[in-house]
Symmetry: C2
Subunit: 341 residues, 2 copies
DNA sequence: AAATTCTTGATTTACGTACATCAGAATTCG
DNA sequence: CGAATTCTGATGTACGTAAATCAAGAATTT
């Protein structure tokens, strides 16, 4: 049988009330007594029954997700997953609020973060835009004692408690190797389509991609990065233009969202050309394109896992609990047409 | 506020005791009264607070994992993950027992399953050996009301509640495409190393592999399957022999465990040859081989996820609860040297 | 109509923890 | 040393549910 507060009281030779004061950091306990109780807790290996504690407290976890607006499937999927999580809130005692901010807009993100100051929150999850002022705003929340988790795009250098997203440098490197090996020994140019160099995830993917390309596939030349702002229209224009302007393009790496535009350009301008294409984010569009052979591989992060993981981590952090590291690692999914879910 | 049993009682115009009798399927309630209570439950949208119920019941979930013995890293990893889960049992109210059976031995597995009859279990997880008598034994457990989950290798046609493992046909197809595309247009022979055709997962991987190879890479010829029984020694012998006997082998697909032997053969007999190799299961050995370029891709199933998922599903099934489907899908991991965790 | 069984209500205890109150003890201060 | 202060103990209630007991009313059988 698992030890209870009564066992601590007996072991430490104090009353239940004193044990309670120690456990919940309430005042009114002499240092020597406190140490006696803490020793007893360690000795008998007591662990608080969180379920019972939450029941007694009537605790709920108020959480906030700060998500960028954006008309691309990945963001739609992310919203959907957070809403999915909301439907489960009665079960896991959460109360989730979504705050929308314009994409790639650091000041707006800072304003949203600062607006949360003073609220009694069990955690904040945000898709970070990488800027010093955002970092500072995050640090302010952390200092105020609120668990903060970055989602999809990280904010290194900040004091955020956790990052729920993939290793984007690794993702870029993986994309490079897939593209390089799928192209065999062919020689030619590679076009890269990004969303914005303002977000860390895109920068990191590019960094990983470029380094493997340079080191291991010197016969492939990287063209200057196109920034499509994760917008289908812009992406379509950029890729169409690039393809019409050059015949030496043999591969494309799309490391952001807004692939609907890329696919349109491929179907129209890219018609009849032998292109090897690797993109990020599995959506209904990229899935269809993978199946019909328009693209060759999709790298993906599972938004559902990211959201659920973020929630678990925020709750655990709020309770000062451990998390299962392996369970919270967000993996890079590689989809070929054969292993689509 | 979430409705409680008191609210049901008030809404249905009955006492708490009657509500309890209905909720816990205790006898002594007239049909009309039962229906009145059930209607009230639906109307006010009551959902039982499982945490509180478990607290009141002092419920623990006695679970059994039936695992095959076997001296290969994947099985060692699986055992380790189950033991990991055991260390968390006080937290999630489980009580896990491991039962070992010889690998690929249907009668032994049947005996182990039948030995569980009559025990008060909240769930049984097993790595299935695909045989009619095993199916029957599983069905007997299910009929007895015990939740049964297959792990790693499935048992289709049985009434098991859930399969916690990857889509092995998809895995085989994926391996074929990776191998095929990595080999460019080269012509040559492919050697396949399996564990045993007695387990469904190996058969399915082979099936998926063969079909994609035949359909899309006709220039590659598949040699007869070698069965290494997931044993490093046997695998080493088989692969060494194959490599010495033929110069036209350009690719290897190892779809089982026991890769330590394969790697040894590659290092010794395969020295200096240009081989493209795709294997299953990420272990310290395959990881090192991936990093030093001996092999080109590793397909993996995360044993930790499988074990945790199996536990979640068994608990939910025992409680008659829903599971989050997306969370319980075990994904096929594809590792290149760039995205190793 | 009496005896029996079946239903239902009322009430209590329990699970492990949180939290509040009040009285009494120990300690510190003047 | 006594008074003021700080600790500590004892106790009760609550959270949402489970489960048991006993009494009483309703329905059924004889």
């Amino acid at each position: 049988m698992r030890p209870t507060v009564y066992d601590i009281a007996a072991a430490a030779g104090v009353s239940l009330a004193t044990v309670d004061r120690v456990l919940n950091r309430r005042p009114g306990v002499r240092l020597v007594t406190r140490e006696k109780v803490e020793a007893a807790i360690r000795d008998i290996g007591y662990v608080r029954d969180v379920a019972a504690a939450n029941l007694a407290k009537g605790r709920i976890y108020p959480l906030v997700f700060i998500l960028p607006t954006g008309d691309n499937s990945f963001m739609h999927g992310l919203y959907a997953e957070v809403r999915q999580a909301m439907t489960r809130s009665t079960f896991d005692r959460t109360e989730i609020r979504i705050v929308e901010v314009p994409a790639f807009d650091a000041p707006a993100l800072v304003a949203a973060l600062d607006a949360l100051q003073g609220l009694d929150l069990a955690g904040v999850a945000l898709v970070a835009t990488d800027a010093p002022e955002v970092r500072a705003a995050v640090d302010r929340l952390v200092t105020a004692g609120i668990p903060v988790v970055t989602l999809v795009s990280d904010l290194t250098g900040s004091t955020r408690h956790h990052y729920a997203g993939v290793d984007n440098i690794g993702a870029g490197r993986t994309a490079a190797r897939l593209l390089g090996r799928f192209l065999g020994g062919c020689k030619g140019d590679i076009t890269i389509l990004a969303g914005s160099m303002l977000v860390r995830d895109h920068r990191e993917r590019l960094e990983g991609f470029s380094s493997v390309m340079a080191a291991e596939f010197p016969q492939l030349r990287l063209l200057p990065v196109l920034e499509g702002r994760d917008d289908p229209e812009i992406a379509n224009g950029l890729i169409s233009e690039a393809l019409s302007g050059s015949n030496s393009i043999i591969g494309i790496y799309s490391l952001g969202a807004g692939n609907r535009g890329l696919l349109k350009a491929l179907k129209e301008t890219g018609q009849g050309r032998e292109l090897t294409v690797v993109v990020h984010e599995l959506t209904e569009h990229t899935r269809a394109a993978l199946q019909d052979g328009t693209i060759d591989a999709v790298l993906n992060q599972d938004a559902g896992h990211e959201v659920r993981s973020a929630i678990r981590v925020m709750k655990a952090t709020a309770d000062g609990q451990e998390v299962i590291a392996g369970q919270e690692r967000i993996r890079l999914d590689i989809f070929l047409k054969d292993n689509l879910p």
